[in-house]
Amino acid sequence: MGIGAWGTLEGQASTEVISISKRSLYCRAPAGLVCVGSQSIGRGPINVLLSEHEWNAIYNRILVGENLVFSKGPTSGIHTVLLMRRCIYAARIDPPRDFGLKPVSLDSLWSLLFTYGKGPMLCALNGSASSASDPFDKVVIQRGKQGIDLLRINWNRDEWQFIADVAVKTLLGLGPGLTPSGDDLLVGYMSGLDLISTISSRAREIKKMMQSNVLSSLARTNEISQTHIRWACRGYYMEPLTALLKAIAGGEPEAVGNNMKKLLARGASSGTDTAIGLLLALENGKEMQRSGYSLAN
């Protein structure tokens, strides 16, 4: 169970199911949302993971609008999830102070991204909007490209406050689905800033700008994505992203590759969108180093 889910459900028994998909459902409690699903969704700040057996039992019975009860003691209801152990997932990245990007080859990560990635933001990155047959997708890709171009701008530019504002407004809520592609990309970007901010004061500044803009513009996206973004702003991400960030911080090339693949496999295009954001931030970090800025200041 994620740290956010525990906080939301502590002292709260009944929730309302607001969305169901094959592998997870979201339910709403007065204190916020939690995501309940099978182990396959992986750990995350607002996730409550069930065994496949338990998940199938719930998935086959419950409908949107019904109540799902969370209990910390013995249960006696069909729509009840027993919170068996206080086993809380609260992983945050904690890079060493002397961390540097050198041991990790960003080229190999880009290569994995282009090999295993999918979705509109990848087309935006490739500049291949024309390949989309659907006009809606085409516009999403074009806007995605505008957002990506903004996030590529070197961090040493003075107008970054403005850039951050425009990038967030361009990307937040862009794309269909529960966590729009633009939102995932922003989360990935902020996670990259999070990683570098331990060793770079400029990255810390950019991170504050991005967070402030994202949090003040949250109404531009839906309630579910808002919840994920709020936790991302506090440094809590979904498990595959956290694992990747930790592997990069630890300078472990093999783990980096494996976790990158796991991240890219997530969702329809969610993992790819997140990875793009992360790589854009890491590239900016490297560019800062190349242009004479020390990351270790």
Binding site: I18, S19, I20, S21, K22, S24, Y26, S51, E52, H53, E54, A57, N60, R61, L63, V64, G73, P74, T75, S76, G77, I78, L82, M84, D134, P135, F136, K138, V139, V140, R143, T170, L171, L172, G173, L174, G175, P176, G177, L178, T179, P180, G182, A219, R220, T221, N222, E223, I224, G267, A268, S269, S270
Partner: protein
């Protein structure tokens, strides 16, 4: 071109579903453009760019789902919107090619599937008897997976079932195979001539798996629930099961797997078996085999022996005991494992997820190494004071109520066994750890992988203790967790895998006996 739309306030769907839905709508006749999206500002602005933003959608907010269709005619656009709404309705979920329905009552389920003749009931015990009664009244056989049904309710349900000629399998019936269809926890086994009626879950699973390994097959496997043979219940479902298998043309041999029965019920069952037109093998774990033999019935002391005899009878051969070394001669492996033990590593610890598998191991091991302590002991004086702490030779059933209250069965959640394995590994006097791995429907997706990883962790934690780890995989190649992959995962971690639970128990006993003789 005509644009039609529909707003579904506060409706959340995942991206995959929305993309599939949009693509599906675009395939419809006359549809030029279709978008099913969350109405975020960016998405509305995107719609505006492509000329599809209507005022109603513009007024929707980020938590609303919007369906927007542009088509040649009004009728085509409207039809596509209606299709989208239908596909969004979860009451009829498309999963691949199969349409699954979710009726809310037993009656509507029967109406939706005319000809259905069995209901599998898995609801909290408080409600289970009422649901089972409804099912019986609708003319359905009942597989009652739920536990915590009172004995009075069980007696009443079985009386009604017997009167109507309908099975009440359970309560707490973990497994059954009816006409080749596995129900609840069950393995995917070959069809064949042997019908089983059993009072135990993993006992039936082991029997079906071994029968397949011995070249036989299963017609039906009927579970009765663990209390059926108490005198209060009177073995009603075992008697009905025998009757049904006797009449069943696909069944040629009947195998009864029994727990110790009440004296009146035991006599009743044996009288019925003597009158049966088909050959019957009776396995009575923890019971007195002489009672069965004196009744002139083929008896078997272990599930392995029972499976062997049933297959022999199905092949028209004589029902003799399984020969020694039938599965192979494992002396060399046993000697190697024994040679790695330190002098003080003298005890066996069995960590079982299946109660009957634990029983069978105890029956075999007590003949080889003497007293076995347990939470489900063969004799009352061998009961562990605390099931959570082993004493000398110990076998624990981790699926027993004491361990599963408020948490999943260890066949689903391997954590309790993993923790116990670590505990046993830490004990320098442990020479052999014996485990079962039960696969099939309902079980954990990779129980062998879990066990192998737990062993690896334990070895890392206690490198100087290196007990032999022995396992039996109760599974088949056709299970969702294929047997060969499960065995491979265990062997990769150095776990000695044997082809039957009895053989695994014998190997454990032989290692300890050999070690004892060397110490002397």
């Amino acid at each position: 071109m005509v644009i039609r739309w529909l707003i579904k306030p506060k409706m959340y769907q995942d991206s995959v579903k929305l993309m599939k839905l949009s693509a599906e709508l675009r395939k419809q006749d006359g549809v030029k453009q279709a978008s099913v999206i969350m109405a975020t500002e960016m998405n509305k602005s995107t719609l505006q760019d492509i000329g599809m933003l209507v005022p109603e959608v513009a007024a929707a907010n980020a938590d609303d789902l919007a369906i927007i269709v542009a088509a040649d005619t009004e009728e085509q656009a409207q039809k596509a919107v209606e299709l989208a709404e239908k596909l969004l309705n979860r009451a009829e979920v498309q999963q691949g090619e199969t349409k699954q329905q979710f009726p809310k009552t037993l009656r509507s389920a029967v109406e939706a599937l005319p000809g259905a003749n069995l209901a599998l009931i898995s609801v909290p015990g408080t409600y289970a008897a009422a649901e089972a009664l409804k099912a019986l009244n609708l003319g359905l056989n009942v597989h009652l997976f739920s536990d915590n049904v009172t004995l009075e309710d069980e007696v009443r349900l079985k009386q009604i079932g017997t009167k109507k000629g309908l099975l009440v399998m359970g309560p707490d019936c973990g497994t059954a195979i009816i006409d080749g269809v596995p129900l609840a926890f069950a393995n995917v086994v070959a069809r064949g001539k042997i019908g089983i009626v059993g009072a135990s879950g993993t006992g039936i699973q082991e029997a079906t798996v071994l029968i397949e390994r011995l070249g036989g097959g299963i017609s039906h496997a009927i579970g009765t629930g663990g209390r059926d043979l108490l005198d209060e219940v009177g073995g009603q479902m075992m008697l009905l099961g025998i009757e049904l298998l006797e009449e069943d043309p696909s069944t040629e041999v009947i195998l009864l797997i029994s727990k110790p029965a009440g004296p009146r019920t035991a006599n009743k069952i044996l009288d019925r078996v003597k009158q049966c037109k088909k050959p019957v093998v009776v396995n009575l774990l923890k019971g007195d085999l002489n009672t069965i033999k004196s009744a002139g019935v083929v008896g078997a002391a272990t599930i392995e022996d029972a499976a062997y005899k049933a297959v022999a009878l199905a092949n028209g051969e004589e029902a003799v005991a399984i020969p020694e070394n039938y599965w192979g001669d494992y002396s060399k492996q046993i000697a190697v494992l024994e040679s790695q033990l330190r002098p003080n590593q003298r005890y066996i610890r069995g960590l079982f997820t299946g109660g009957t598998l634990a029983d069978e191991a105890m029956v075999i091991l007590s003949d080889i190494v003497g007293d076995i302590f347990s939470n489900i002991p063969l004799k009352p004086e061998l009961k562990l004071p605390s099931a959570r702490k082993s004493h000398k030779h110990t076998i624990v059933d981790l699926g027993d109520d004491e361990f599963t209250r408020g948490r999943p069965h260890p066949m689903i959640d391997p954590l309790p066994r993993n923790e116990r394995l670590m505990q046993e590994y830490a004990d320098p006097e442990v020479g052999v750890i014996l485990c079962d791995v039960v696969t099939g429907y309902g079980s954990h997706a990779d129980p062998a992988g879990e066990l192998a990883r737990a062993v690896a962790r334990a070895r890392d934690a206690y490198p100087s203790n290196n007990p032999a780890v022995i396992a039996f995989v109760c599974g088949t190649e056709a299970d969702p967790q294929p047997l060969s992959e499960q065995v491979k995962a265990l062997e990769k971690e150095g776990i000695f895998v044997l082809p039957s639970n009895a053989e695994a128990a014998r190997a454990a006993g032989r290692i300890i006996k050999l070690h004892e003789s060397r110490r002397v």
